[in-house]
Symmetry: C2
Subunit: 394 residues, 2 copies
């Protein structure tokens, strides 16, 4: 009896599981314990804000996955995963945030019951939310297991999106456009920043038409003036001021799928240095979009972007993008490919990225970005369709 | 040159650092590496949505703390921490989500520069976001260090709030009240759930008067009918229906401080079993509030709650509360004390809890909760002031 309201078809989950099992086989992994909430949802459909306690999915080569978590969250699992109810297992509440017991003692019992005492088990050593203590308890409970680092094993299987996933991202992008349209309309000198954020969040969750909005994996980021040098500041209640640029980093979200989108607004007359940076950045974005073709590599996008920026004397120290799709807090990236000069990953049709060449300089910042889809041929498609420019308002 | 807009006075940060250092000394810890974003903010003021990459604070017995993180986030640190700029250190971007390098290699360099190769260093092995891989890399980089599990060392120092912190929580509580008032006014049969969430988020961020709202560490939770059996489901676009109860678990947030608050709305005429559960739950809440006195223990609250529920034949499997205050996603609890029968922690004036006896049964749920403050004497004060009941609307 699968959950009633699954976002994807059984065939889609079968495909995902088959890809994951093939990679497990290739690495000689007998079982995989998946803690990253995005990976759990991608494989099983599990959806709920319960990732603040230990939980995960056991992936086996020859039987349906098992969702394992806190007892009270099994009710949520029964309502959101495609597996039969007997594939949902809970641990008792006294394990939660206890100094005497650890949930991984309970997980070890399940793994032993599956006959995995001597197995090679993959764990996501550097994914959210697998703690150092979780690893230590598992090692001590199951000394015969060969624990293998399977960080990002599942994340890599998510890189090429299905048509259904791309459809979700198009819906997320429509929500992103709506949010940015609202920002451009509402931002004015004197308006408190939190008032604009309130409308961003409202627009995002109201969604577009029948496509209701989910929560994005990152809250809106919108520093102004010299604070725009800092990419990850959130907001306060100070008013927008004339003579300042503010970038807006936001994403619509449709059933956990994202399409991040950033634009910058200047109130007043932008200084020449910012106009020059805008011109170089837009040229770099267009060169990068053109380089984002199947068969090219991730680094080709980064290098195409870098050339016009260098000519303008702008040195970025950071990567200029990452894969996107399904995600949970704290990050809407997939944590596999990085658009940077050292990344040789070959681009394939159906891959999706946030092409994100933010400029965060010593005392100013500028963000003009695109969420993109690698097509079967030719340059990338942008999910959103809004002018690629610095917006100027009086 | 400290940050311009710190939420607290220098004396408050001094107090926090002194408490933390005293506990380090008591445990024989020479240095502490703090990764929990809440602990980082509590100690240094650091505030930004950058906890999706490795970062942290090095606490030393005899010198100011060092904030360490990704290069691009040092700009945010310089704008939010109280320490001098030379106490902010960044690592280069190629360390981010790389398979060849790990940020902890860079951290190890800093720890070595501090002369800590043979030291006893505390790490938060079971706090967010210290991964199994982070621990492994540190162990391999610094084989002479005695790594000590310092999970929740700082969290415990946060248990008793200062007057300034309690002031922030009162502001958060006013926002919580505003959110719940809006919910009670707006929920009606036929209204899509996401429309209500949109207004909840908008009310929360608009805040009350000049007190602008920050993002809560957990998104609104509001399952209906039989889904209310699952405490951590989020929302979708389906309309509210007659004959169903929906609980609303929300929190206002003021400068990262929370006052969670839950109420349940029934549309139509509630069934008798729900009225009986309401009566038992309210009696239990009132008994718990009365037991929440300084000198009593955490378990006294849980036991006071349990008695009337047991008489009504309701067995809860879960703890009924946790400490609250400053927090970042994914959790607004402090992860120290648990209100449950085995927790003997003595209650002290200034402690703050979410007294959270949610009922999540097989096919229904009910949440009536209070954020509370342990007073100098007598029963606890509730931060919010709204009728303690199941709300019924036609």
């Amino acid at each position: 009896m699968p959950a009633a309201n699954l976002p994807f078809s059984g065939a889609e989950y079968d495909r995902r599981l088959a890809k994951t099992r093939a990679e497990m086989a290739a690495r000689g992994v007998d079982a995989l314990f998946v803690t990253d909430p995005s990976n759990q949802a991608w494989l099983t459909g599990y959806d709920g804000w319960s990732f603040y306690v230990h939980q995960g999915v056991i992936v086996l080569p020859d039987a349906d996955p098992i969702w394992w978590g806190r007892n009270q969250d099994t009710n949520g699992a029964l309502r959101t995963v495609w597996m039969a109810p007997d594939r949902v297992r809970g641990y008792a509440d006294p394990y939660v945030q206890s100094t005497e017991r650890h949930p991984m003692q309970d997980l070890a019992k399940h793994l032993r019951d599956l006959g995995l005492e001597k197995a090679r088990i993959g764990v996501e050593m550097d994914n959210y939310y697998f703690s150092a203590k979780a690893m230590e308890v598992l090692r001590s409970e199951m000394p015969g297991v060969a624990w293998q680092d399977a960080t990002a094993l599942v994340n890599w299987q998510r890189a090429v999106k299905s048509e259904a996933e791309i459809g979700f991202m198009r819906k997320a992008a429509a929500i992103s456009e709506k949010i940015v349209d609202g920002v451009l309309e509402r931002v004015e000198p004197g308006v408190p920043k939190n008032e604009i954020v309130a409308e961003i969040l409202r627009d995002g969750v109201r969604g577009v038409g029948d496509d209701w909005g989910d929560y994005a994996a990152i809250v809106p980021l919108l520093p102004s003036g010299s604070d725009a040098a800092a990419p990850h500041l959130t907001w306060d209640g100070r008013p927008f001021a004339s003579g300042e640029a503010t970038f807006f980093e936001i994403s619509g979200c449709y059933r956990r799928y994202h399409a991040p989108f950033c634009r910058t607004v200047f109130l007043g007359t932008p200084p020449d240095f910012l106009k020059r940076a805008e011109a170089a950045l837009v040229e770099g974005l267009e060169a990068g979009l053109d380089a984002a073709r199947p068969g090219n590599r991730a680094c080709d996008i980064a290098n195409a972007l870098a050339a016009p920026l260098e000519r303008a004397g702008i040195e970025r120290g950071a990567r200029c993008g990452y894969p996107i799709g399904l995600s949970y807090p704290p990050d809407w990236g997939e944590r596999t490919i990085s658009l940077r000069s050292e990344d040789q990953t070959v681009l394939e049709p159906g891959m999706t990225f946030h092409f994100m060449p933010g400029l965060w300089m010593t005392d100013w910042g500028l963000e003009i970005t695109e969420s993109i889809l690698i097509r079967d041929s030719g340059p990338a498609e942008t999910f959103c369709n809004r002018p690629r420019q610095l917006f100027v308002k009086p």
